[in-house]
């Protein structure tokens, strides 16, 4: 175990997989010589050299086109899209090619590709560099969608994504890069499609993803100490595949579900979970499912507006507290 930042865990995860498997290559804008704009890939060029760790032109289509071809012809590429907002530039490759190649070739082509990208707000980057777009990805059949909230999960889930035979969209959260946590040193592989129960309570089940996870845990602690409400908090970690078993089991125990989502409200991932819960455990619910989300707006860049738009610890506490009766 070593204490690493979320950002260092990215490099540690990539390095672990590149050491293990010569077919793993890494490419993206400013990822090699500069070590990434978020400094999440420092040291990889030095260890693995310019053939396996490549800087690319500023062209998301070139990055994903090259990565897709490499994946289809036997490599296990990791491609970086610097800001997840820019996935829109190369979405045809993601949604129409990468996600569908196995299906449309009847399995003749595999596409074992990991697309890493920095997602989410809180960094005052404005409406085009702050979006939480995990719900775009979740809407496309054929890709797996992962969004870790801790350094250990970054390393373990990144390794699992690289070893997966199908394309995985890996959302790192910009505002978590500086957070620290214990990360296993050696070969560390987690499992895709498993949610984590971070704490258990009797009154309400809070389901959160990525940067909303530490906020939900902090809110749960305040709810317990100041309001006598004990909350279960689940880190979803993987939207596709989705660990419905864990979510349903915990919702049944408390009879209440609150989702905490950074994505804009319409068609956010929490809506899908609310739908599954209503369908599968309606008779165990003791109140309406409540979704706490960013409103359906472009994210503002002004500090106080951005803070107001994204679900905060205070908003989570207040919403849960007032919806418990």
């Amino acid at each position: 175990m070593a204490e690493l930042t979320y950002r260092d865990a990215v490099a540690a995860g990539i390095a672990q997989e590149m050491r293990r498997d010569d077919r793993v290559v890494f490419l993206g804008e400013d990822v090699a010589a500069a070590g990434g704009v978020f400094k999440a890939t420092v040291g990889l060029l030095d260890e693995f050299g310019p053939v396996r760790v490549r800087d690319t032109p500023i062209s998301e289509q070139a990055i994903l086109g090259a990565a897709m071809g490499a994946a289809m012809t036997g490599l296990r590429p990791i491609a970086e899209i610097m800001f997840s907002d820019f996935l829109a530039v190369c979405w045809d490759l993601v949604a129409n090619e990468i996600a569908k190649s196995r299906y449309m070739t009847n399995g003749q082509l595999e596409c074992p590709l990991v697309i890493r990208t920095a997602n989410g707000g809180g960094s005052r980057f404005g409406a085009q560099h702050s979006q939480s777009v995990e719900n775009w990805a979740m809407a496309v059949p054929g890709i797996k969608v992962v969004a870790p909230s801790t350094a250990a999960d970054v390393k373990g889930l990144l390794a699992a994504a690289v070893r997966d035979p199908d394309p995985v969209l890996f959302f790192e959260h910009k505002s978590l890069y500086a957070t620290k946590g214990e990360v296993p040193d050696d070969d560390h592989v987690d499992e895709l499609g498993k949610a984590k129960v971070l704490r258990r309570g009797d009154d309400v089940t809070i389901v959160a993803l990525a940067a909303m996870v530490p906020r939900s845990v902090a809110a749960a602690e305040i709810l317990a100490s100041e309001h006598g409400i004990s909350a279960t908090v689940i880190d979803v970690r993987s939207l596709v595949p989705l660990d419905t078993r864990t979510i349903l089991t915990e919702v049944v125990k408390t009879g209440r579900l609150v989702t905490v989502e950074e994505n804009p409200r319409l068609c956010g991932w929490g809506a899908e979970i609310a739908s599954i819960v209503a369908d599968e455990c309606f008779y165990d619910l003791d109140g309406p499912v409540v979704r706490i989300t960013t409103p359906h707006i472009p994210l503002p860049s002004a500090d106080h507006l951005e803070d107001l738009a994204m679900p905060s610890v205070t908003r989570i506490v207040e919403t849960v507290r007032t919806r418990m009766d």
Binding site: G255, Y283, D284, L285, D286, G287, D325
Partner: protein, 409 residues
Amino acid sequence: MDIVMPQLGETVAEGTLTVWHKKPGERIESGDVLFEVETDKVDTEVPAPAPGVLSEILVEEGETVVVGTKIGILQADGEDAPAPAAEAVVETPARAPEKAENSPAMAGKADAAAPPLSPVVRKLLAEHGLKPSDVTGSGLGGRIKKQDIEAHIAAHIAVMGDAYSVDGEPPAADRVIVPFTKIRKRTADHMVASKATSPHVLQAVEVDFHRIAAVRAAKGADWKAREGFSLTFLPFIAHAACRAIQEFPHVNASVDGDALVVWRDIGLGIAVDLGPDGLVAPVIRRAAGRSVADLARAINDLSSRARNNALTADDVSGGTYTLSNSGSFGTLITAPIINQPQVAILSTDGIFKKPVVVESDAGDSIVIRPIGVLAQSFDHRAIDGAYSARFLKRVKQLIETDDWSGALA
């Protein structure tokens, strides 16, 4: 809110309002008996659908009106005074006996005045046989929350525990709570309903089984080799009972209102123990006239399928008389509970060798005979002790004197 004549049973078209329990202007709490209705099937007390004030009576005592007729007006709490034209018509939930098994569902029925019940609260109320009015709600506007029911149940268990615990020790530590399975719960409900419905009378006769024992001794081994299961006393007893039923058909019947429905065929129920889960009584249809061998095979088939959970709905319906067999455990006598809507049930208990006095022309002598008790519980609404006793005497006579040697041919 309008109060209407409730539908008390599917086929009931009208009801007579016999008693109003409240006068106009009187305060009513939810669940208070509001009025009584008499139909051709039942007399029923009808509770108030919501708390409020009875503002008007439209149908007087003694009047007969069709189902759905507006019979009064309830000024429910929170409802605006003199009702506007488009007010909701709320059917009063009936507390009719024939709806008794559905009563938990009533708990979920929307109550116009009370705060809404969440899905899990409805489920828990039904599971624990509680009414919303039993539980104090701590939520918004007095809404009952899941935790309120859990607290209610915990308090209830604690109260029960206090009665048994010694030295005021915490009640939870000294016991294990085993939730009823579905079949256990059905069994429990059925037993309570049967005892509540039928005045049970137990009668028993001592029977000498030596003739049947002789047949089993002579042919049991062959039978087992051929059929694959043991030849017990039960098919012989079933055979004797079926023949006696044909002479005393009123034990093979059901009570329906003021009449006894006597069945022409015998649907012979065989109670089968399923361990802690409960029991079932699958039925041998058209049991009259069947041979002992035929009955033996049918009993074996039903009981093995019952234990393998492979009975169909048909197997457990159509029973008209039931045999309960505790004999293999060596019991002396069992007072069985009638399998509703039947009117009698026969228990066969252990058969043991005993010294008995046998009378003959040469004088009395003591011999060793296999003796067992046959005990019948009957519904005293349907038949009387003398009838039941004559039936039992006939069963005993058939078992003791019939020539059973050709029974397996």
